[in-house]
Amino acid sequence: MTKFQLNRRTLIKSGAAIGAGLALPTIFTSSARAYLNEPKGGTVTLGFNVPQTGPYADEGLDELRAQELAVQHLNGEGDGGMLNTFSSKALKGNGILGKKVQFVSGDTQTKSDAARAAAKSMIEKDGAVMINGGSSSGVAVAVQSLCQEAGVIFMAGLTHSNDTTGKDKKRNGFRHFFNAYMSGQALAPVLNAAYGADRRAYHLTADYTWGWTQQESIQEATEKLGWETVNNVLTPLAATDFSSYIAPVLNSGADVLILNHYGGNMVNSLTNAVQFGLRDKMVNGKQFEIVVPLYSELMAAGAGANVRGVIGSMNWNWQLQDEGSKAFVKSFGEKYGRPPSNSAHTCYAQVMLYADACERAGTFDPCGVVDALEGFEFDGMGNGPTLYRADDHQCFKDVLVMKGTENPTNEYDTLEIVEVTPRAQVEYAPDHPMFAGGDLGQCNSGA
């Protein structure tokens, strides 16, 4: 039999082998599980989830244009757009954290289940570290909760319901777009100045999450002015002809009609209301007026001449003259031959804000990004000084009150800026009753 001899050489050898053997799995797992979809090579993948089919396809297309532009600017291509005006200088035009940015896109179809499936596929199959885009609050809330569960960051696109950063808020989700409460607060003083404090309002409201919070917000804001609410009628989301809802308005004693509708609903209800001659009538000794709390460029284009003189609100508009807006409009306009919409702007800004947060955090880890975005103050993105509030992940910035242009000079000249409402006027406490009931929870990095 051989005698087992332990000498120095074998001890070192076996010790190293055992050590490596023990350490290997932990090295392996710790690097693999740092966080979900950690970019390994020279690239990082972002997922753009926008409506590419269905009634909001044109809005989705505009979002995608802006997202593509943002990716170009991040990679140092083109003229850099708002990178040049952004107050944070962390981004260098060499991708994010030195990794070249690439993107995949999904189709939300403006349906919650389709949007979740598209986001899931981009996260699982394409390895997206962030999901951005969308044009509906129902979709935003659904995708936000999916991203929270999966462990990636959700940078919301166009979503205006209070719930997105209210009862449905999530630690991994962030909203740059404004919300229904802010629209109400911004519109009230302008409505007061234009139409007086003694008004009786009749509401038509789309029967889903956004419509309800929009109606509640504008009702509260106008009642504070002294307006009376005559009636609030819920209309089916699938409705196309609103004539039977509008016919009774004139004899209801109301002298203002508030249309809490978006997209196709708003185009049709406003068109129908104008057909009924509401805006030519005098009621209670006053000119009858129509208010559309949330405007978009595409809706204004769809409603044509019917928007003329009608007041509403927006998150951003290409006619703004600050340096950030001018840089973005120039960059977008030269590439696509048309001014960007406010949904394009919010998606572009969100991609930039995400990239900047990664750069400042030094990681793509969602928990690091959350820390970098919470309480982040910035400027130069087209809305003046802006705060990403830590309490609810809502951006606070100036809000635009718009009016349908009376004498348009070209096809993009549909809306004009009436007032830039200062941020202070639209701020609210994190525990405001309209936003109550939610909890951000813990950040999830998918580890």
């Binding site: 699938a238 039977s244 009774p248 004139l250 004899n251 209801s252 769809g302 001449a305 019917n306």
Partner: protein, 354 residues
Amino acid sequence: MARGFVGAGFTMDAIILQVLNGLDKGSAYAMIALGLTLIFGTLGVVNFAHGALFMLGAFCAVTLQRILSLSYTVEDPTQTDFLGNPLKVDTPYIVSWFGDATGNAILNWSVPLAILFAIPVMLLIGYVMERGLIKHFYKRPHADQILVTFGLAIVIQEIVKYFYGANPIPTPAPDMFRGSVDFGVMIGFAQNEIIYPYWRLVYFLFSAVIIGSVFAFLRFTTFGMVVRAGMADRETVGLLGINIDKRFTIMFGIAAAVAGLAGVMYAPINSPNYHMGMDFLVLSFVVVVVGGMGSLPGAVLAGFLLGILESFASMNEVKSVIPGIDQIIIYLVAIIILLTRPRGLMGRKGVMEE
């Protein structure tokens, strides 16, 4: 329970308003359902692409508007566009050819003019659809017909979306029909009690003319007589040496034209978009079933009836008693009618009952 019915709103003027409204909605339903029934009665095909024909009609109006406003572009150095470049000013050719007044008047009347444009276009589309696709499905089960026509509808939609985008396209009525008329004053009410848009009254009258013409055509022409005979007994008419297939193809074209004209005139009521056909399709089928499969007067009657019921269901006084009734009334009525009269209001025995 009774509160709603004695409430201030449930007055004579409100009722008349909703009747007008219902007649108006019913006009579109009746015209689409009439075409559906014509196709079903003559060819025995359940045509789910009929909503798409309605939509194509509306896009005939959009297309004519675009053709008429074809423009040449001149750069105007005195004005600038949104990027600060010289503004490109578009002048429609017809304005430069016919002068400002005539040119703009033609543009203004583009929707009524589109009727003339839509009739040949829709007849052609109907002819191509029937000869190219649907005739191959005559002998197939109804389920196959439904699948193929539904697929066709989706294809047509996507083609329209490709060329025109997904956003609605404003297609206004001529200036003189914009705004509204005080209908109440005409029938002895006080001012401002019953205000109704001009164009919707025009739409109702237009549909009455179209429906009347179709019935007159079937009743008073030899062609119509043969078609009616063919609807009743295709085989015997064929044995008499009459080429019934050819006549049925023409009927398909006429049905397409009726749906198309309904669409043309609807364009100013709601800006057309690529999926407007689907919005009407399901309702129109309910209308056909309620009216009785294969019955032309039934389709028209049910169209107006359901239009009026839908309008009444969306009154606040009704909604306050039964919330959400406006969303389900059509289907509720369909269930009740089918339970009490399984063949529909005016359905005949033996249709779709083989």
